[in-house]
């Protein structure tokens, strides 16, 4: 299968891949002492997280509902990378970094474009295919699964989600044991 061959080549190439330097003007990115990534890789993670879990709904021109505003102390991609850097073992971090680079390379090879240049449909297709098919390297799947897991954690620990969806209060001042739904 053409894709399988491409993947095998990809793995061989990526095994010796160096950091891909970026030509654009770079804003300072946070430093992750255990997970050294380039500016371009950082931006890739940012785009992946935003595509995986947007923090606002698809806009519906006919809808008059208020759009929930989900604000958090840090961006979702910064949370993802901080957690990988701080809470994961060196082995897992290595796996994540390999998966990130494999992902980058695969998108380049398959679409001849960067991930950010693809459309929403292509993003979802990529995520779904890569996480469901056994043809893809485990580290690549690990990169996507952990990114999703952490993006979901970031989302579900936000003030909006906790207070509006989990009915959570910081200072309840009461306990009512039996409330009709």
């Amino acid at each position: 299968m053409k894709r399988r061959e491409a993947l095998q080549n990809l793995v061989a190439v990526t095994a010796t891949l160096m950091y891909v330097p970026s030509c654009t003007v770079e804003e300072a990115i946070p430093s992750y002492s255990n997970l050294p990534i380039s500016n371009e890789e950082y931006r890739l993670v940012k785009h992946v997280v935003e595509a995986m879990l947007p923090n606002k709904p698809k806009s519906k021109p006919e809808s008059t509902e208020d759009i929930p505003v989900i604000t958090t102390p840090e961006s979702s991609h910064d949370f993802v990378l901080t957690m990988i850097n701080d809470a994961y073992s060196p082995l897992q971090i290595g796996r994540y970094a390999r998966g990130l680079r494999l992902f980058h390379q695969f998108v380049q090879d398959e679409y001849k474009q960067r991930f950010a240049q693809l459309n929403e449909f292509q993003h979802i297709l990529l995520f779904t295919e890569m996480t469901e098919s056994e043809a893809f390297p485990k580290s690549l799947q690990f990169f996507l699964e952990e990114t999703k897991r952490l993006a979901v954690r970031h989302f579900t620990s936000s003030e909006y989600f906790l207070t509006q969806k989990m009915e959570w209060e910081f200072i309840p001042g009461r306990y009512v044991g039996c409330v009709s739904i």
Binding site: A51, K58, E74
Partner: protein
């Protein structure tokens, strides 16, 4: 060498739960009291750095870093050793000990000790607990009975504040309680089921050291009401639960009789061979390692169970070569603990149109029901159990993109409840469960390292 500034009426070693209380009582009686604490001071409210952090303000959302987990395998065994309270736990490397068998020695070396992070559950012992050893023959008879302690329970509970219901059970004596939070519908359902099916088993509200009502004594202490935040392990800005920092230390300081000396490691109790009495405490400054001796007529050792044994074993003299008061060689032996190993959980689907609201810092409790009136089983003693239920709000994280967003936003209660219980089993005191001092190895302050050999046995299984 004694000098006026090193002389007190009383010295208390350890500014935790019991040391704080001893110091308070001694100060109330007018004794100039020196309260020694090996760790740093933790001033009520001022030194609770995480107490007002919202969940999203914790950088790792409560999780420890990989380094924290791997460097602290012992502390990591504690449910409360997480991002919001890790600064109150002793780190494994800083205070090593020798595990002859695996033993999770969890410690809090600061003013307040573990009274900052404790679970605040306070159930009284009954006569069945005091009479058990004599009846079943597994240990020496208690020299006291419940009636000897009853007034003292009341005395302490009145000062610290205990929330509970008067349940009228002979296995769980009542006190003068502050009002209780309610049990929820599923807990009440279970309680009713147990009542209908068993004569000798009961589900009750778990009595806890929280202020649910105001009384003059609490106002005098400067404490407010518990607000049900249930993040007690961080320290409470309201003084809503009982700890030494909010309730005991400020009170003792207000008497004008307390000298609190943090960063003071107690090396040993000084014994005067001529007088035939303990006369003081040898203290190593935690920071400078300088040794100072303090003197008093009354000395309390409240360094927590194992450390108290350690200090007394290390208090050697010609009269007491094996440790102060250790003529019979029993010191450090017969360590008993709680068997916390059994847990069960499940899903209850019987109350789909109900949920709860708010939070509580306690739940429900099963007083011990095995071998209470007579020996009935092939194991000795028994166990109490915590019990609790709560509605499930499942989070659907299927899909990617807009689909994932919509799925997450559809979260709500689904009608099912999770139910759980954990056992607290009594262990039999045995001579072979013991601690002893190493002959050579010491910690950074010259105090011998402690060997700990404490095991489960067939009775625990």
């Amino acid at each position: 060498m004694q000098s006026p500034e090193n002389r007190y009426d009383a010295i208390v070693i350890g500014a935790g739960m019991s040391g704080g209380y001893a110091a308070k009582e001694l100060c109330d009686k007018g004794l100039k009291t020196l309260l020694l604490e090996r760790g740093r001071n933790v001033e009520h409210i001022k030194d609770y750095p995480t107490t007002n952090l919202q969940p999203w303000e914790l950088p790792h959302r409560g999780q420890l870093t990989h380094e924290e987990r791997t460097e602290n395998p012992i502390a990591s065994r504690c449910y409360a050793f997480r991002e919001d309270a890790k600064h109150f736990f002793v780190k494994d490397k800083e205070h090593p000990y020798i595990q002859e068998s695996p033993f999770d020695w969890l410690r809090g070396y600061q003013v307040g000790g573990k009274s900052i992070m404790w679970a605040r559950q306070v159930q009284r012992w009954s006569d069945f607990d005091f009479e058990g050893p004599a009846r079943d023959g597994f240990a020496v008879d208690w020299p006291i009975r419940y009636r000897d302690l009853a007034d003292w329970y009341t005395h302490v509970e009145g000062f610290v504040g205990v929330s509970g219901n008067k349940d009228g059970l002979d296995t769980l004596p009542d006190g003068d309680f502050l009002k209780a939070w309610p049990l929820n519908c599923v807990e009440e359902y279970f309680q009713q089921f147990v009542k209908e099916n068993y004569d000798d088993r009961h589900v009750v509200y778990a009595r806890c050291a929280h202020l649910t009502e105001s009384r003059p004594i609490f106002q005098k202490q400067g404490r407010g009401l518990c607000q049900s935040r249930h993040i007690c392990q961080r320290g409470c800005p309201y003084g809503g639960y009982f700890n030494a920092n909010s309730t005991l230390i400020p009170w003792a300081l207000n008497t004008g009789n307390l000298t609190l000396r943090p960063h003071s490691v107690a090396h040993s109790v000084i014994y005067d061979e001529e007088l035939g009495k303990a006369t003081g405490v040898r203290v190593v400054d935690a920071n400078t390692k300088e040794v100072t001796e303090y003197f008093a007529n009354v000395i309390f050792v409240n360094g927590s169970t194992l450390n108290t044994n350690l200090i007394l074993l290390n208090s050697k003299s010609d009269r007491f070569p094996n440790g102060l008061g250790n003529d019979n060689g029993l010191m450090g032996k017969y360590i008993a603990f709680h068997n916390y190993r059994a847990r069960i959980s499940g899903v209850h689907e019987g109350h789909p149109s109900f949920k709860d609201e708010g939070r509580r810092p306690t739940s429900a409790y099963f007083p011990r029901f095995r071998n209470v009136y007579r020996q009935e089983t092939d194991f000795l003693r028994g166990y109490a159990a915590g019990f609790g239920a709560g509605p499930i709000r499942p989070v659907d994280s299927e899909g990617f993109g807009a689909t994932l967003y919509e799925n997450l936003m559809s979260t709500s209660t689904n009608g099912a409840w999770r139910v759980g219980s954990h056992m607290m089993g009594e262990t039999i005191p045995k001579e072979e469960n013991r601690v002893w001092l190493d002959n050579e190895a010491t910690d950074d302050w010259g105090v011998p390292l402690l060997h700990v050999k404490v095991d489960y046995d067939d009775n625990d299984e």
